[in-house]
């Protein structure tokens, strides 16, 4: 079984790191994984996105047109990925700044107020992890606890002091996910 997760947002919203975290977790869990960034000048200011693939078999393509899940942290990302997620797949939306609702009805949509939760936790920079926490509830391949364990050792040195907050972000996202999903 192979799961493809796209994470997409403004540069600076931490999409790339969130994707890497999933890949690191997959590695720790003994799974196959790839992380594929979009890179280049668009990273500066524009949109940043990446694809993480997690699988129990060797991975061919590190990109796919139709991912199983997408975490969209801003409106342009929603515009881009809503049409692409596989039917039945997961779409996590940062509802704090994305007002528009999802049109498709064949997806599991999680609208999570990522920025608000992050502000609450005291750091705008953990929106990505809030959303990932939510995602994990719908993505059976990686377990929240494993992600947390992995985070502990891959968190960049300069953010180590924020580890607790980062872990909370994951948890809050996960906690929010269930009722939200029901509300879709």
């Amino acid at each position: 079984m192979q799961s493809e997760i796209v994470i997409s947002g403004f540069g600076g919203q931490g999409a790339l790191f969130a994707g890497q975290l999933l890949a690191y977790t997959a590695l720790d869990a003994g799974l196959h994984t790839t992380w594929f960034p979009s890179y280049g000048p668009e990273m500066r200011g524009g949109t940043a996105h990446c694809t993480t693939i997690v699988s129990d078999a060797p991975i061919g393509s590190p990109v796919v047109r139709h991912p199983r899940a997408a975490v969209v942290m801003n409106l342009p990302s929603l515009e881009r990925y809503e049409p692409l997620v596989k039917a039945g797949g997961v779409l996590v939306v940062n509802s704090s700044i994305v007002e528009r609702h999802v049109q498709r009805t064949d997806l599991q949509v999680l609208r999570v107020p990522g920025d608000d939760v992050a502000q609450e936790l005291g750091d705008g920079k953990v929106t990505n992890l809030v959303l990932v926490g939510a995602l994990l509830t719908r993505l059976p391949v990686l377990e929240l606890e494993q992600v947390k364990r992995t985070l502990e050792h891959v968190i960049p040195e300069r953010r180590r002091n924020l580890l607790a907050m980062n872990l909370q972000a994951l948890e809050r996202g996960a906690a929010l996910a269930d009722p939200l999903a029901a509300a879709v």
Binding site: Q20, A23, Y24, L27, H32, T33, T34, W35, F36, P37, Y39, G40, P41, I59, G60, S61, P62, V63, V64, R65, H66
Partner: protein, 360 residues
């Protein structure tokens, strides 16, 4: 070494370090700059040579210099930067000193863009530098292969006193994947340099390393030596990977990233009942001619997939003598084809075969 999640550019740079690379000369260019940056940190740390050259022209000639001194030396660059190295590469080949180049291709021609592409196949495999020369060209498809082939590149370069190119594309340089780095080899001691190297003529006749032979007969003799080396390389160094080819009616032929992309499409097609497999040349020079020719005897059609306008396909045509229909799917300019597109191409080719059978 345990497996770690590694970015391609960092992975090959560290692999080179561990393979005993004693000198790195390079110039920044996206999408391979992280390799230079890694070397900027690692090489001085280990007391080895690192110079950020003033240009790719200078970089390849520093490589040339260090190669004449008999050390393991490398550079890395991307398309426009590699174009600037053509003269230097020709001299290195014309002098028969070993060197390693990692070329992380990007979209072209011209300045193009920094997205992944395979449009320098023809340049590296068929005829970039002037003169009758060849470089061993290895095309990895995964970060692990990128590591392994980089290590091997040093060994091959030394074995044949030739240039070995690791030909990757931007996606391989930028992506992360679990991979295992090789153990650290101790670099050769200064007094273990090869006999042909310039080490100061202590207690021996001085020698010169040069690529000029004014007398055509002499130059020809030199060329015949080179050609003999190339024949030896062709005989011994062919590398390829075959997947799902057992009983396949269609073979996808694709190298590097295009190859791994195609594999996903192949699995999807197989799930639909289409008997298709993958032939992935790993050594682009020497090209796996014999094996591909045999394959063309067994299958009903070939689909060549490249991230360019169709370059390797000419070699596929030549080698297989077009015994079976050969179709092409390619994206250019840095567009990475999605496996879904390749799947579509496989389906199309399959339908073609079915139609023909119906007619027959």
């Amino acid at each position: 070494m345990a497996r770690a999640l590694l970015k391609g550019n960092v992975a090959f740079a560290e692999a080179a370090v561990r393979a005993g690379c004693e000198a790195y000369f390079g110039y920044p260019i996206t999408p391979q700059t992280e390799a230079l940056e890694h070397m900027a940190k690692r090489m001085p740390e280990l007391g080895r040579a690192f110079v950020q050259a003033e240009s790719e022209v200078a970089a390849i000639n520093m490589v040339y210099g260090a190669a004449t001194a008999g050390v393991r030396v490398m550079t890395s660059s991307s398309s426009p930067g590699v174009s600037l190295m053509m003269e230097g590469l020709s001299y290195i080949a014309g002098t028969r000193v070993p060197a390693v180049l990692v070329d992380v291709m990007r979209g072209g021609p011209g300045l193009g863009n920094i997205a992944p592409a395979q449009s320098d196949y023809a340049q590296m495999v068929r005829g970039g530098p002037h003169g009758d020369m060849k470089m061993i060209v290895l095309a990895p498809a995964t970060v692990q292969e990128l590591i392994d082939l980089t290590v091997e590149a040093f060994d091959l370069a030394e074995r044949y006193r030739c240039i070995t190119v690791v030909l990757a594309d931007g996606s391989l340089g930028q992506m992360m994947e679990p991979a295992e780095l090789p153990p650290m080899r101790t670099p050769r001691a200064a007094d273990e340099r090869p006999a042909w190297a310039l080490t100061g003529a202590r207690g021996r006749e001085p020698h010169a390393l040069t690529s000029i032979y004014l007398d055509p007969e002499q130059e020809e003799a030199y060329n015949l030596e080179l050609q003999a080396t190339y024949r030896a390389i062709e005989a011994a160094e062919v590398r390829y990977v075959e997947e799902r080819l057992e009983g396949a009616r269609i073979a996808v032929v694709a190298f590097g990233t295009a190859g791994r992309l195609s594999l996903t499409a192949i699995d999807a097609a197989r799930a639909e009942g289409i008997e298709v497999g993958l032939f992935r040349p790993v050594s682009l020079y020497p090209f796996p001619e014999e094996r591909l020719r045999q394959l063309a005897e067994r299958v009903d059609a070939l689909l060549v997939v490249e991230m360019n306008a169709g370059q390797m396909i000419d070699d596929v045509r030549r080698v297989t003598r077009e015994r079976v229909p050969i179709r092409f799917y390619g994206r250019t300019g840095g567009v990475v084809p999605m496996p879904e597109e390749v799947l579509e191409a496989i389906r199309g080719l399959h339908a073609e075969l079915v139609r023909e059978e119906a007619v027959a």
